[in-house]
Symmetry: C7
Subunit: 82 residues, 7 copies
């Protein structure tokens, strides 16, 4: 199993590999925030730019920049070109 | 990827770069607090001045100064001039 | 940006500067507690005297003294004379 | 402001000064527990004796002794003779 | 006030003094678990034997032994013979 | 009271004594998971095999193996032969 | 009981043994995420690829890659070939 480690992606690497790329952040309360990942920290706080917000599947706000608190995140998914 | 680091914004820098500028703080329970960022700490507690509150999208209170506890914050977004 | 620091209010300073003055404490569950701030600690636990309680905007109890647990606080706002 | 410190009540002093006196403990879920404070710890866990419980404002149980977990406490208020 | 300390019951002593005796454990979600206290730890996890469960005031299960996680406990009350 | 200690069951011993035996794990959201306890850790995360799930009292899934996160556990009860 | 230890599966081993295999992750809010486990960390944050999402039992999104935050996980179950 030793060489298996080579295949493992560490969770935070998903964020590292998505820098400057588009991601979707799914947040408690049926909200999503999609935008370009500009940064993150070990608490999974993320900085997004050019953000589209959906609440219950409907488009709501558009934001130039946003800091999303990691606490409320359910999942983060990189967009297809990853 | 080493030089990529130069582009990364650390989440707390969003707050640092917004000092004395207008931000919107989105808080659990469908509340927003918009005002001038006067200060913050590592727990994401923020101090705002000249604050407008909305609950479920309706204008509610206006406050000269306010300390918002970081725990309940979903996101922070700087206003356009950032 | 170095001299900017001079303008920053630390969140806990909002409490320090409100000692012996009136504040409003907004708490989860649509509750507010307004009274004179007598003390606080680093967990944002606060001691109030001459407290008026509102629940869903209606006046409820009046309390001579009260210790409000910091955990449940959404925001603290000093009254106008600050 | 230095001598101001003399007037500050630390939150835990509200509990210390209420030992052997009556207090009301307001707990999440619209519950209150009123009784004589027999002890407490730094987590705000409290021991009460001769306790009356209300749920949604209605009298429910009566308990000889009770340990209330600090986690769920919204506020603690000493009764008038304090 | 120095000799007052003699009268203080530490919260965890309520558990210590209830070992091998009957207690009622009130848990979030309108549940109670009544049984003989067999053990506990500093997280307020408790071990009960001969346990009766009520949900919303109705008798539900009966359990020979049970470990109740401290996290969800609202209060613990020793039965009368304490 | 010194020799009383001999009778105390530490909460985690309930898990230790249930290894390779059947237990019921009651989880927030009116769910239960019953199966053979294969392992656990200090966070009360448990590994079960041959698991039956109930939600609101109705049988739902059956799972060969399952890791249940300790955070959401309300209680754990060993089956009768303990 | 000493040799019993040999049979114990540590909870995190369920994840380790499922690397590159299919798992189902059950998350608060009646959601499941099924996909290939690509990695995890000590907080139970998991990386999945080729993910199918269900909400209240209905198929919703499909995602190439996803980082699911450990906080919200109720259980993880390896698929049959484990």
């Amino acid at each position: 199993m030793a060489n298996k480690t080579a295949y493992v992606s560490k969770p935070m690497d998903v964020l590292k590999n998505s820098l400057e790329k588009n991601i979707m952040v799914d947040v408690k309360g049926n909200r999503t925030y999609s935008g370009t990942l500009e940064g993150y920290d070990i608490y999974m706080n993320v900085v997004l730019s050019n953000v589209s917000e959906t609440i219950n599947g409907e488009n709501k706000g558009v934001f130039e920049k946003m800091l999303v608190r990691g606490d409320n995140i359910i999942f983060v998914s990189p967009s297809r070109s990853d």
